[in-house]
Amino acid sequence: MSDFLQHLINGLAAGTIYALVALGYTMVYGVLKLINFAHGDVMMVGVYFGYATAMKLGHDSQATFFGVVLVFLASMLGCALMGFLIERFAYRPLREKPRLTALITAIGISFALSYGFQLDLGPLPGASPRAFPEIIRPSEWLVVGDVVIWNWQVISLGIAVGLMVVLQYLVYRTRFGRAMRAVSFDHRTAALMGIPVDRVIAGTFMLGSALAAGAGLLYAIKDTAIQPLMGLYVGLKAFVAAVIGGIGHVPGAVLGALLLGLVEEFVVGYTASTWRDAVAFGFLIIVLLFRPEGLFGRVQAEKV
C-alpha cells in the first residue's frame, strides 16, 4: 500500500512537470497548427540558462528565495527570447508553405540545439552530464509511514500550479488571450478583424518557451543531473501527453500529462526502470488506436 502511495505521489510530481511542457506544445499547435519539435530542446537550453545563473550566484545565495526567483526569471526570459528568435527566423518565413516544410525545420532546430550543445567549443557545455545546483535544498516535507513527500515535490507542484493559473488567466481573461484564441480559431479572419497575427504568434511562442524553461528547472531539481539530450526525451513525452489529452486542448494537455506521469511511474515501479522510455510511446500508440483525436479532443472533419 505504501508502495502504491509513493508511486502515486512521484507520478503526480512527474506529471505536473510534463504538463508545463505539454502546455507549450498545445498552445503553439493551437495558433500555428505546427508541432514544435524543438520545444523540448528550448527547455534544455532554459535549464542551462538556469544553471549558469545559479553558478554566477554562488553556493550560498542561489538557495535563498530571491536566488531561486532570479534563476527562474533569468531562465524563463532567456527562453522567451530564444522562442521569439526561432519563430521569427525559422518558422515565420515558412508559414504559408506546406506543413511538412515547417515540421522538417522544427526537427532540424531540435537537432542543431541538442547536438550543438554537446560540442565542447567555447561556451557550449559539452556532452557529459552535470549536477544541477541544489537551489532547493532537499528535505522531507511529510513522512507518513514509509511514504515520503519531499519539499521540492511540494514546491514544484506549487510553482507548476501557479504557472498554470497565470496561463489560464492570460488565455481567458486578457486581450492578448482573446487574440490568441481568435488566431487559433481562424488566423485569416483574425487578421481581417485587425488582430496583429504575427505579434500574437510570436507572443504565444515566447509564452510557451518560458513555461518550458520553468518546467525544465523543476525537472532539473527533481533529477539533479542535466545533459544536452534531456530535452529530446522530456519534450517527446510531453508531446505524447499533449496528444493523449487532445492536441490544442489546454486542460486536456494537463490531464494527459498527469495520466502519463502516473502510468510511467507505475509501470517503472512494478517492472524495471529500463522500460521507462518505451512506456510513453506504447501508451501513445494505444491511445491513437482507439481515440486518434486524443481523450478530450474533438473530431474535426477535414475541409477541402
Binding site: 506546406p98 515540421l103 525545420t105 542543431a112 522500460w275 510511446f281 506504447g282 500508440i285 486518434p292
Partner: protein, 352 residues
C-alpha cells in the same frame, strides 16, 4: 508534376524489358566484385554506402512519393538486423549439402535477409495500419516512438544480448550481395514510381482528400508503401549486421533515423536518384573528413573525433537552411537525368 518516363530502354520487346536491368546489372556487379572485391577498404566503404542507399531509397517511397513523414526508419533496420543476425548465429554451423562453403553461406545469407526483411515488413504493417489513418505529424511521432520501443525492447531481451548486442555474426555480406540489393531496391522504387500504384501514391502526396475523392484507397496504398519501405530497411539492416563486427541498440538510435531523413530531404523528397546522390555524399563526407583529419593530425585522433561530434548539429542546421532556401532539396521530384545540363544525353520525356 513530372510525367513518368517509361521504365526500361525503348525499342525492346516487353518480355526483354522486364529482365533487361537484371541482365545488365548482374554481370557488371560480378565483374566489379572480381576486380575490387579483395580491397578491404573499398569493400567496407562501398558496403556502408550501399546500406545508406537502400535506407534512403526505401524511405523515399514513404516520405517522398507518398508524402508521409516517417522518422523511425532505423527501427525497421534494427528489426531486420537483429532477425537476420540471430538467424545467422543460430545456423552458423549449418552447411547446405551439395554446395561449396561459399555458396552455402551466401544462400543462408539470402534466407536470413529475406527473414529480416519479412519481419521488418510485418512490423511496418503493424505500425502502419493504425498510424497511417492519422495525419502527417502524428505519423512522424508514432514512427519515432516505434523506433524507440524497438530499441528499449532489444535492450531488455536476454536473447538479443541486451545493451551489449550481438557479436560473432558471420561476416558473409559481400560487395556483390550488398549492391545487388541496392540494385533491387532502386529497381523496385523506380518501377513503383512509374506504375499506376505509384500514380496513386503521388496523388496521395499532392492532395490526400482529392485522391480519396478520385477513388484511391488512401489507407491501403499508404500501408503498402510503408510495408515495402520497411521490407527494404529490414534487408539493409540484415546486410549491415553481416559486415560490421557487432550490432547493438546504439547502432539504431534516433540519430540513424535522422541521418536517413536528411539524405531523403537533401536529395529531394520524391527523387530516387536524389536520395542515392545524397546517400553517397553524406556517407562519404564524414569518412573522407575523418581520414583527412587523421592524416593531417599525424595520427592524432582528436580532430577526427571532432568531425563525428559536429556531424549531428550540422545535419540540423542543414535541414533548416534547406527548408528556408531550397525546400524541394537538390532535385525536387525530378530524377538526375531531368536536371543534367543540356549538352549531356537526357532521357526523353513523355509517352511515345
Amino acid at each position: 508534376m513530372e510525367s513518368a518516363a517509361i521504365p526500361g530502354p525503348r525499342g525492346l520487346p516487353y518480355g526483354v524489358r522486364g529482365i533487361f536491368p537484371l541482365v545488365v546489372a548482374v554481370p557488371v556487379l560480378a565483374a566489379l566484385e572480381a576486380v575490387l572485391g579483395h580491397w578491404p577498404f573499398f569493400v567496407y566503404i562501398s558496403s556502408l554506402v550501399g546500406v545508406s542507399i537502400i535506407m534512403a531509397v526505401s524511405l523515399n517511397i514513404v516520405n517522398g512519393m507518398t508524402g508521409q513523414f516517417s522518422i523511425g526508419h532505423a527501427g525497421f533496420m534494427a528489426v531486420g538486423a537483429y532477425a537476420s543476425g540471430k538467424f545467422s548465429l543460430e545456423t552458423k554451423e549449418l552447411a547446405i549439402s551439395g554446395l561449396s562453403v561459399g555458396m552455402s553461406d551466401q544462400l543462408l545469407l539470402v534466407v536470413s535477409l529475406l527473414l529480416g526483411g519479412a519481419l521488418a515488413a510485418l512490423f511496418g504493417f503493424l505500425v502502419g495500419l493504425p498510424s497511417l489513418r492519422l495525419r502527417g505529424d502524428y505519423l512522424a511521432i508514432v514512427t519515432l516512438g516505434f523506433g524507440e520501443i524497438i530499441r528499449v525492447v532489444v535492450q531488455n531481451t536476454e536473447a538479443l544480448g541486451r545493451a551489449l548486442g550481438l557479436s560473432g555474426i558471420p561476416q558473409t555480406s559481400s560487395f556483390f550481395m550488398i549492391w545487388f540489393w541496392v540494385f533491387l531496391t532502386v529497381l523496385v522504387a523506380r518501377r513503383i514510381a512509374g506504375s499506376s500504384h505509384g500514380r496513386s501514391l503521388w496523388a496521395i502526396r499532392e492532395d490526400e482528400v482529392a485522391a480519396e475523392a478520385m477513388g484511391v484507397n488512401t489507407t491501403g496504398y499508404k500501408v503498402r508503401a510503408f510495408v515495402i519501405s520497411s521490407f527494404f530497411a529490414g534487408v539493409a539492416g540484415g546486410l549491415f549486421a553481416h559486415f560490421v563486427p557487432i550490432i547493438n541498440p546504439g547502432s539504431f538510435t534516433f540519430v540513424r533515423s535522422m541521418e536517413v531523413v536528411v539524405m531523403v530531404v537533401l536529395g529531394g523528397l520524391g527523387s530516387t536518384t536524389g536520395a542515392i546522390v545524397a546517400a553517397i555524399f553524406l556517407t562519404l563526407l564524414p569518412e573522407a573528413l575523418r581520414t583527412t583529419f587523421t592524416a593531417v593530425g599525424g595520427g592524432d585522433a582528436s580532430l577526427a573525433q571532432k568531425v563525428d561530434q559536429i556531424r549531428m548539429p550540422v545535419y540540423g542546421v542543414l535541414l533548416v537552411i534547406l527548408m528556408l532556401a531550397r525546400p524541394q532539396g537538390l532535385f525536387g521530384t525530378k530524377e538526375i537525368w531531368d536536371v543534367l545540363p543540356r549538352w549531356l544525353p537526357r532521357k526523353r520525356k513523355g509517352m511515345q
